[in-house]
Amino acid sequence: MADLGRAALVTSFLLLVYALVAGSFAAWRSRRRLAESAQNALIAAFASTAVAAVVLLSALARHDFSFSYVADHTSRELPLGYTLTAFWGGQEGSLLLWLLVLTGYSAAAVLTARRVGREVLAWIVPTLGFVGTFFALLLAFVSSPFVTQAAVADGAGLNPSLQNPYMAIHPPMLYLGYVGLTVPFAFAMGALLARRTDERWIVATRRWTLAAWAFLGVGQLLGAHWAYVEIGWGGFYAWDPVENAALMPWLAATAFLHSVMIQEKRGMLKVWNVLLVVLAFCLSIFGTFLTRSGIIQSIHSFTQSSIGPWFLGFICLVTVASLALVFARLPLLRSKTRLESLVSREATFLYNNLLLVALALTILWGVVYPLLSEAVTGEAATVSKPYYNFFLHSFGVPLLLLMGIGPLVAWRRASLRALGRTFLWPLAVAVAGGVVLLATGAGSSRIGVIAYTFSLFVLASIVLEFVRGTAARRALGGVGWAGAFSSLIARNRRRYGGYVVHASVVLLAIGVTGASAYQTVRESRLKPGESMTVAGDRLVFRGFESRTESNHRAIRALVDVYRGNHYLGRYTPGKNQYFAEDQVSNEVAIRHDLLTGGDLFLIADQVNGDGSIDLKALQKPLVNLLWLAGLVFVGGSLIALWPDAREERRLVERYADATVRI
């Protein structure tokens, strides 16, 4: 079967090379049948990559240890679910997932991109082929998942931190996001190569970009929750380079989703938008490079390999070629429109863009600096939490405020009187909230009070937007409040879906602030019967219990939690000793308080030979709003992504003559 996998990957490689070379020639010499043939090659590459994926999945399911990949990442005792998710548990498998998603996206994008224009599509195909060729080359000739060996009796097992239900969903989500950014990149490059800088590429990729961005956002939140429940240090985001690798393209894509609206509404920022698409794509490749190259030490970077130079070369090539193309097409990208006022919706979008890109670039510098310093001086400098926190506060807090200001400001320009009227209620809510926060002792953290006050301002402005919009629609007559509300959202899904996403970011900000600025941490060595107190909760250690599972031995501390005299329950933090992997993992215990949104987080830091435990307890107020934010984020993204029949009809009419006819 390994032969079939190898043959399928070589076939994918050849098809993608064909899509690149024949597609480029067809677009350059304007050859219709050759262009169609290149499109078909791209679609066929998905089919052959899918065959390779099925071969690997089948080898995993059969515990076929003649596949080195299967032997290195699974064992006979590993439960079937984790055995299958080991598909992306190692480098070769995750690269195969990359190629599978990429060719799948490419096939779908090409099949649904009729509106973009045949001459643009002809250039999109080789661009997608170019990216696909790189990954197929790595898989077929450099880092194949189909390397075979003499079959061993049992495999080495899977990294214990990857033996978690989130493993099934977090990496695929991130990949759908990372790889999805290839589509807007390919369409932007296709439009520039074809010298068509109208809005067709933007209209065609609107949903692709939004979907990729949403997947990347959800993937990161799932990763944060995974880290929270699995890694066992009590946090959810550690500014780890691999975590940053996913955040950077998401920030660039967020900036693009905002600035592209200015291009659609005002015909401005064409160069900036193309640059953002290039930046988001390059950062997504850079993220994969960080995770896969083994260049950095990270809990998420579980591979060491020699593919780093390949990635570095590819990133350099893509960056230089894209920038050269943008530079060559500058005359076509000039805008006739100018910003009318610095106090307008488009101006707030511009400020938001500058802050988002500044945040992405400072994080990039934080990630790259240790690598550069190691290359130059031989010693890796450390960029730690204070650096990132400083820039998060410097750029993130004003961004939060802008989320509240933007919706209140009109397009084109806004007078002081109109601003005074629209800002009145949100400001009043924020000031009142700030006073209450200070009165209730929240002033212990200055950044906490600022973040909460700004959050209240944003939430009030979002609610006000819905209320005023519904009232305005109702005033047109014929509908009640509910009808006016649903019609308001249905008529502008992107705007109101966007506001729901903004609300999710506010929930996230409240959760992060609560869990970081206001958390309480206590550590103590306890013998059975002894207790400790954290933020009013009394924890009594009763002793240990242990049990043996199929692939590990679990030891658990029995901790009874009381609030006053009220018994809240027994919680069991502990450790797992994995046999095949010969590794120990921390297994935390968490008490969720649904009323307050906070968590009591228990870590068995050390299980001592004398029967005592080093117990660490964290009280994290409002942390559950973070996970609630994820649900709201998905809801907002779905509203924004939902097709709008009215808009579709308008676009059909607009592009009637320019649509590709097959």
């Binding site: 079967m1 050859r31 049948r33 052959s48 659609e264 509404k265 209140l408 007078s415 009227r421 607009r654």
Partner: protein
């Protein structure tokens, strides 16, 4: 091994057919050039985008006015130029459509 060989061969053949399909379907064609919009069509596209942008801006302006984000004075100042822009784009599109129709229907006698 045999199954793998058969599946591999089928995959290779299917891919080759898919890639060759445009040439198999049309072995000889009189015109193999990619159709791309001419200057007139590109102008129409640009006008249609301009029209949609102006109409959307008008809608936004009306909505911002109704929700109190735009004062009456600003509204009066902004609405005129926007209406003119939309009207110009609509007129130019109509003219172009008339020209296109005249081209399609040649006059006799």
């Amino acid at each position: 091994m045999t199954l793998a060989l058969v599946v591999g061969a089928l995959l290779a053949v299917a891919c080759a057919v898919a890639v060759g399909l445009p040439f198999l379907r049309e072995p000889a064609v009189s015109d193999d050039r990619l159709v791309s919009p001419d200057e007139l069509e590109r102008r129409r596209l640009s006008l249609a985008e301009e029209r949609d942008r102006a109409l959307a801006a008008l809608k936004e302006l009306e909505f911002d006015h109704r929700t109190g984000k735009i004062s009456d004075t600003d509204y009066r100042e902004l609405v005129g130029p926007l209406r003119r822009r939309a009207a110009e784009a609509l007129r130019a599109l109509d003219l172009r459509a008339e020209h296109a129709a005249e081209k399609r229907v040649p006059t006799h006698g």
